[in-house]
Amino acid sequence: MSPKKIVLRFGPDITEKPIIYRLVKDYDLLINIVKANVNPQKEGTMVLEITGDHIEGGMNYLRGIGVQVQALSQEIVRDEDRCTMCGACTAICPTGALFIERPAMEVNFDGDKCVVCQLCLKICPVRAMEVRL
């Protein structure tokens, strides 16, 4: 069985909770943490690869405690010509994938840090961020 890739997003209240432990223990899932990030506001994002028979049950548990669960089948790209380097996305992107290089104040995009939360898609005023399927 090939692993299922998912993205989790959660607020400061969840950051303290042992959610991975519960997924492993209560739902018998095999979990590979691909990316994990907690920003200074204690908002967390995680990309997981999950294998097991009770994935849906585990996901329902997560949703029940307020975690946003999303399948990861997409990639985010930036249209470099369209981006004006305004910076409007940089305090919104939860993982720092979009960030400002100082002192030049240029906006960079590090795809490796992106967890495909898609927040930047609607935040970017010139719609420079796109989903690639």
Partner: protein
């Protein structure tokens, strides 16, 4: 008096003018001192690139055969105000299609509006033009449905009644829910702070008393050449002060600008969408500041650490038009990436592009140095803080 406009222009024509962008001039003043720097440099160039509401374009479509006296007109489905003359219209940056879902599915996306129409025009893309009328003896036609490009129409004049805000609020959200504003998405409980100025590069922050900028000042506008047409609407310049009387830099001035849209470029005029708020136009503007005196040079040398923005709550104080703010922060602090408000450290982000502002100041410097851009002495300077203009409240 260090030099006059005509002396500067004579030097520009002979290729001898010394021109520096505002950030370069700040470094020179730090290195050589104000007097020496002011004697060396003739012109300081500034730049800003950001969303500027109160923008739009006057268009004259030319006459069809038979003639129509357009009563209502739409460009790519976005209404343009046609109540000016038979085939004249004004497309405003924040106008939206009548069938836009707006905020009915909150927060709305506002993917296409007047700002995007202007970007499509300046990109030489074909646009749908529809217009209706009631028919007159001299203008019998009642409707037209056609396609135009900027090259097919007589005139396209960018005329922005209020641009280049001297300074702007740093927006935060004190409430417990995410809000969607023209200052971007503001996370609850002081989750982020958004500001919108190029700070030490921004045109009106470098001429706080309007000693050089006035009606007729030639500027960089949208990639081409434009002019200051008038003071902008809501032009209420003042000098901010801390409680102990220290200057925190200017705020409140604005410009009305005009220029031929046909010679501008989509790189410097971009349609923008603010989720939950609406659409608008991002505009690139650069203003040259002639160093006529040492006093003017002193103002032009103001750095990010000398210039401050008020921190304003956009969940309650701003929408409710309640006076006061949450303190003042310098652009040096804003650019560092974090500020402290009410004892909490919060991440900052700009909405105005510093890299593009720097590029504009650089292009303007290049145009002046190469002799292709002469300075225009204003016919009349704009009202200054000493004129004491202030905003009125709309009752109702």
């Amino acid at each position: 008096m260090l030099r006059s406009y005509s002396e500067i222009n004579a030097k520009i024509k002979s290729g001898k003018a010394v021109v520096m962008s505002a950030d370069e001039f700040i470094s020179l003043v730090e290195e050589k001192g104000l007097s020496a720097a002011a004697r060396t440099v003739d012109v300081v160039t500034t730049g800003t690139f950001g969303t500027m509401c109160s923008s739009g374009a006057f268009l004259n479509f030319g006459h069809s055969s038979p003639r129509i006296r357009m009563q209502k007109a739409w460009l790519n489905g976005v209404p343009a105000y046609a109540g000016i003359a038979a085939v004249d219209a004004y497309i405003g940056a924040t106008e939206l299609p009548e069938d836009d879902p707006l905020n009915s599915n909150y927060p709305g996306e506002f993917r296409y509006g007047g700002g995007h129409v202007i970007e499509d025009l300046v990109s030489h893309r074909p646009l749908s033009l529809k217009a209706i009328s009631y028919g007159t003896d001299c203008y019998p036609r009642k409707s037209i449905d056609t396609t135009i490009t900027i090259d097919d129409i007589n005139e396209a004049t960018l005329f922005n009644p209020r641009n280049a805000y001297q300074n702007y609020n740093c927006a935060v959200n004190l409430s417990g829910r995410t809000i969607y504003t023209y200052m971007g998405m503001l996370k609850p409980n002081l989750g982020n702070a958004h500001y919108s100025s190029s700070g030490q590069l921004s045109p009106l922050l470098k001429d706080p008393h309007f000693k050089t900028i006035g009606i007729g000042t030639r500027i960089f506008l949208g990639g081409g050449t434009g002019y200051v047409a008038w003071h902008g609407t809501q032009h209420f310049p003042s000098i901010q002060e801390s409680p102990d009387g220290k200057s925190l830099g200017p705020a409140g001035g604005t410009l009305a600008v005009i220029g031929d849209l046909k010679q501008m470029s989509p790189r410097w005029l971009k349609g923008v969408s603010f989720t939950g708020y609406g659409s608008s136009l991002a505009v690139g503007i650069g203003v040259p500041i002639p160093l006529l005196s040492e006093e003017i040079a002193l103002y032009a040398a103001a750095a990010d650490r000398d210039l401050y923005a008020p921190v304003v709550d956009y969940s309650d104080a701003y929408p409710g038009r309640k006076p006061g703010n949450l303190g003042q922060v310098s652009y040096a602090d804003l650019k560092s990436g974090k500020i402290t408000v009410q004892g909490k450290e919060i991440p900052t982000a700009p909405l105005s592009s510093y890299p593009m502002a720097r590029e504009i100041a650089g292009i303007l410097k290049e145009r002046i140095s190469s002799g292709s851009f002469l300075l225009a002495e204003p016919v009349q300077l704009l009202p200054s803080p000493a004129d004491g203009r202030s905003g009125k409240v709309l009752n109702g």
